[in-house]
């Protein structure tokens, strides 16, 4: 892996979500990887405190299948999202792994409502024969402790 590949990967992943290519997005994940969105600033413990999300491959798959379900009433009409990325900051880089932090603004909209979230996203990436894959992703919301309405897509 080199810097450019890592940075391109982070941008491409955000693009996939914004374009709603969720199944393709799921293929970017290693089977054991977990998507974590803490509830607390600097939260260290994902297990014995509540998080907003702490989801393995099965749960992410469920999330995506649900988005396409015929009786998913909260997605009639569907939500859309948009990520705006700062330049990713590479924290660690080896031949076959990387940790990269990216600040993003995430906008999600449905009907007449639009919400804006500020995020710091930490990606743990691994090189595989099929290309770069996500080994773990942590999304820290700037206002993680605020009262939200539904956040239905994937920041």
């Amino acid at each position: 892996m080199n810097r450019d590949e890592v940075i391109d990967f982070v941008y491409d992943e955000a693009w996939m979500l914004d374009e709603g290519r969720f199944h393709e997005w799921l293929d970017l994940w290693l089977p054991e990887a977990v998507y974590w969105m803490p509830l607390n600033w600097n939260q260290q413990d994902p297990l014995t405190e509540t998080s907003l999300l702490y989801e393995d491959n099965f749960m992410l798959r469920l999330r995506i299948e649900r988005l396409h379900g015929a009786r998913t009433f909260s997605q009639k009409p569907k939500s859309r999202c948009n990520h705006v990325l700062n330049r990713p900051r590479i924290v660690e880089l080896t031949e076959d792994s990387a940790r990269v932090k990216t600040q993003m603004h995430y906008v999600e909209t449905r009907l007449d409502e639009q919400q804006l979230l500020a995020l710091t996203v930490t990606h743990d990436l691994k090189a595989t024969p099929d290309g770069i894959r996500i080994a773990g992703k942590r999304v820290d919301l700037l206002n993680c402790d605020a009262a939200f309405r539904s956040i239905q897509l994937l920041p």
Binding site: D45, L47, L52, R61, R66, G69, R71, F148
Partner: protein, 439 residues
């Protein structure tokens, strides 16, 4: 406080089998709830493990009233109005903190003991011979009408006079007892911050939904139904254990018969619970070491009795729900006629394996988070209902499923689990406490 006009008005809004839509949409009714209903009831404030040390406080509210729960230097909990007796400034703003030995108002530095008594005023001389001692300000921060710390759960009644704690809750405390008894040492503590989920709908819709057993298989087909489908389609080796996430989500898709057979119990004053005989929590796998710890603490017979109770949702009127088998409490905080904040809290069982807390945390984020698929299903329904109720062609919300003539809400009852009797029970209590709480 019985106001004949209000009584007539409420008699028009609440019928035995239906409720007028104004009860959910009218700003005037909401104002009357704030003025009468919430102050006359015993309302949940917080858990005493949130304020373990002297001077620790949390902010809370009953209806629209800002409050502080604080631990005084004699270790007792006090519940005070969060309002400076001088010019009204809120004394504390943080959701939690420690104030040390006293509260100090940030505006003119009047200070108060942690039981609310006025401690000092700067330049006190200026008040000499002005009759300060005859004003309400001289008494310091005002306490609520009454408070009770029941096994760690702190409740308060704002009204100075009214129904006592034991009379208000009666036998419904058995659900709270069961949740606490699940700790081998009979003690819970709060495990981390609550999820906070904002709903643009009336608070009562959320409370009613806690005993609405006819919606899961419909509204949650999108989340629980999809989960079951994916799990069944997966290529699993023979004997693959059901993962905890599936144990939690799959029972939401149980058929109507399951919910009918599980039963609903109602108690006087608007309390009640689903899951009399079994519940969606009945079939969770055992956590190693837990039953052993319970047997040790209570003896096998009593331990079996405690763990055999699998109540699903217990509603404590007016606005909380607890789930004993997974130590969870949801607080439905009314912020307006069409605005409700839901706080979902989880508890750790002292003396029990930490895996139990992990399951509770998983349940909370899977079902009650603003990012939860199951939560999305429910919120969509409440908000559609709030908008739909504006339709002028129809006026009534129907709650007559399994209605029986002359239902007597002063007595405990156990019925078919799909009855809407608990909703009727809540409205019986609602009407009484709107009018002061007299029977």
């Amino acid at each position: 406080m019985s106001d004949p006009d209000l009584k007539t008005r409420l008699d028009h809004l609440i019928r035995p089998q239906q409720v007028h839509r104004d009860v959910y949409t009218s700003p005037e009714i909401y104002r009357l709830e704030m003025k009468h209903l919430f102050p006359n009831c015993w309302v949940y404030i917080g858990h005493d493990s949130q304020t373990p040390n002297k001077g620790d406080y949390i902010t809370a509210q009953i209806g629209d009233q800002p409050l502080i729960m604080v631990r005084h230097n004699d270790d007792e909990i006090h519940v005070l109005y969060n309002r400076c007796p001088h010019k009204g400034t809120k004394i504390v703003i943080d959701r939690a903190g420690n104030t040390g030995k006293f509260f100090r108002c940030p505006y003119h530095a009047w200070s108060f003991k942690t039981n609310g008594c006025l401690l000092a005023i700067p330049l006190k001389k200026g008040y000499e011979n002005t009759g300060l001692e005859d004003t309400e300000a001289a008494h310091g921060m005002a306490p609520v009408g009454a408070m009770k710390n029941y096994r760690g759960f702190v409740f308060a009644r704002l009204a100075p006079e009214g129904i006592g704690f034991d009379e208000f809750f009666g036998d419904s405390l058995s659900s709270l007892d069961n949740m606490v008894d699940r700790s081998p040492v009979g003690r819970l503590n709060v495990a981390g911050a609550p999820l906070r989920f904002m709903h643009n709908c009336n608070w009562k819709m959320l409370v009613e939904n806690q005993t609405d057993t006819c919606h899961p298989m419909v509204a949650h087909e999108s989340s629980a139904g999809t989960a079951v489908k994916i799990w069944e389609e997966m290529d699993k080796p023979e004997g693959t254990p059901t993962p905890p996430a599936m144990e939690i989500i799959a029972p939401f898709m149980s058929p109507y018969e399951f919910f009918e057979n599980m039963g609903i119990r109602t108690w006087p004053n608007g309390h009640g619970h689903t899951g009399v005989h079994h519940s969606i929590h009945s079939d969770y796998s055992a956590v190693p070491g837990y039953v052993e710890a319970m047997n040790e603490a209570y003896g096998p017979e009593r331990a079996q009795q405690i763990l055999g109770e699998n109540r699903h949702n217990t509603v404590y009127f007016p606005n909380i729900m607890i789930k004993g088998p997974i130590q969870q409490l949801r607080n439905f905080i009314a912020l307006g006629p069409d605005k409700t904040l839901v706080e979902s809290w989880i508890f750790r069982l002292e003396g029990a394996p930490e895996e139990l807390t992990a399951r509770t945390a998983m349940y909370n984020r899977m079902i009650n988070a603003p990012t939860s698929m199951v939560g999305h299903d429910d919120l969509e329904m409440y908000e559609r209902a709030q908008e739909g109720l504006m339709a002028d062609g129809l006026e009534w919300v129907n709650i007559q499923r399994l209605y029986e003539e002359d239902e007597d809400f002063t007595k405990e009852a156990v019925l078919n689990g799909t009855t809407e009797r608990q909703m009727r029970n809540q409205f019986d209590a609602w009407k009484r406490f709107m009018l002061g709480g007299a029977a």
